[in-house]
Amino acid sequence: MWQIETGTTAGKIYVTLIVLAFLVLFMGLIPVMQVLPPRGRRALIALVTFFAGLVFAAEFFWPVNKQGENWLTPAIGPAQNTLQIIAAMALALGTYGLIRLHLRNIVQQRSQWGYSVVLIVAFVTMGFFSVWNTLAEKGVLSKTVVLQRGFGLLFDNMLVPLESTMFSLIAFYIFSAAYRAFRIRSIEASILMFTAMMVMIGIVSLGNIISYQWLGLPVEQTAEMEKNPFSLRNIGYNLALPRIAYWILQALNAPVQRAIEFGVGIAGLAMAIRLWLSLERGIT
């Protein structure tokens, strides 16, 4: 019932009726919302929210057949497609807001309007070549040398290096942040610093060189070492920097992360329930 056969006449009539019904509903909804008092409006919104969320909740809990589906499962795909369409429409709105802001900067010659000119020129140029490229890929337009060179220049020679450059800034910022933050100011700060240093040196080749080449610690654990866990060789094996780093990541980091993720997951579920039942006043 959620998928319509648009090839048949009945299907086409069905689609037309649905589109008309939505138009009537939408056009009718605006005057109704204006006439209703605020409490009525909130009640209507809460009702729509509840039924929209109920589809997903019911689909999850409803018993399934041997194929792992129930009668609501085919509705999920179209619902998710609808969300994608809304996101695409919102993108148009966001882009409009961006262009409007910068055009206004240029027209009114506000402070630093030169950057707005750069943005508009870059936006138009990249947008032009991207649309042309997509149409050429689909065979609507031809793939000319100008397109190939232009798109290649903009994408491979500008966009890719620019994005990589921004990501590489993180390396430099880490350096200044670590230099500033990792100081022995308190017990917690000291633990943070030593742990970070252990992991930083343990996960890279330098940790291997220090532990296995300079200090000559065992690289692998033999059966004999397993039998004598407190032997010097076994202790040495476990004190190698890479093993300490791996232990910190596996035995300290992972359990803490699980704990935080439990809390975040439960809190997210609680918030979703509040939004679904319109108990959350928040931004509404």
Partner: protein
């Protein structure tokens, strides 16, 4: 005015000087022909061993979601993975859930597979960009050709020789997620039960995956360029991971040196203030 000691100056050092030192350090160790070997970490060893268990003709899904920003970490990983898959003579398909990743991964994998003698359509294919990750995975679990419909070149999926006998995601042996984002949780949650998941994140995102490694939900992991270096060592084929990891290695050493210097400066300046 109080005289500024060298320790005070060190504490207040202009960050641009720090950036310059790091920049020079990276350039030197990128270009220096120093061979630095490494010991394979357990997650990389598990990654390698899992792929080694594949048989010729098996199907593998490569989910490539990285774009230009993380090219330094994800590209060496993807290259090493593709070369290993070609060595094992498995069939693979590539998919992207990020628009820019579609073009980058297609062009990159095309180049690597050409070098390895793989033919597009017969040995591998690219499914293009799929907008919704969770919806896409769920759709592929149910009916892959109906979800993907056509490959990046516009050919219907069912017509591709590489897709012979493949109806759903359950017909794949494993999925390898090469990504800078947290997409692996969706693969773990919605995949068919027997589909093995391998993970190639950037170093920043790797910390999140240790819980999945512990529980076995992720069979193996390559952590950024360092993981790529270890993997290249196992494959005995040096790619970009090795020089990048070398530069990272010495950068870490530099950062640790400056952390120690900063603490010494703090201690000495406090001493100077105290008398």
């Amino acid at each position: 005015m109080e005289k500024q000691t060298i320790w005070h100056r060190l504490l207040m050092i202009d960050r641009r000087i720090l950036y310059l030192i790091l920049f020079v350090n990276i350039i030197i160790f990128l270009l220096l022909p120093v061979k630095v070997s490494t010991v394979t970490s357990p997650p990389v060893r598990r990654f390698y061993d899992t792929i080694e268990q594949l048989k010729p003709g098996d199907m593998v899904m490569v989910s490539s979601n990285w774009s230009a920003g993380t090219i330094g970490e994800n590209r060496p990983q993807l290259e090493a993975v593709i070369r290993h898959l070609m060595r094992k003579k498995v069939r693979f398909t590539v998919i992207s859930f990020e628009p820019q990743a579609r073009d980058i991964s297609f062009r990159f994998v095309s180049r690597v597979t050409e070098e390895g003698g793989y033919q597009y359509g017969k040995d591998w294919a690219h499914f293009g960009f799929l907008p919704a990750l969770v919806g896409g995975i769920k759709g592929m679990v149910k009916d892959l050709p109906a979800t993907i419909k056509q490959d990046i070149k516009g050919t219907p999926i069912a017509q591709l020789p590489v897709m012979q006998g493949v109806k759903t995601l359950a017909d794949y042996k494993m999925v390898i997620d090469v990504t800078p984002a947290g997409t692996v949780a969706a693969w773990i949650a919605y995949r068919p039960k027997d589909l093995i998941v391998l993970f190639c994140p950037t170093s920043v995102m790797a910390a999140e995956a240790y819980t999945f490694l512990d529980s076995g939900q992720v069979a193996g992991m390559l952590t950024g360029a360092i993981g790529a270096q270890e993997y290249e060592q196992l494959l005995q084929r040096e790619g970009l991971g090795t020089p990048f990891a070398k530069a990272i290695s010495f950068s870490h050493a530099l950062i640790i040196l400056f952390i120690i210097l900063g603490n010494v400066a703090l201690f000495m300046s406090r001493r100077a203030q105290g008398g």
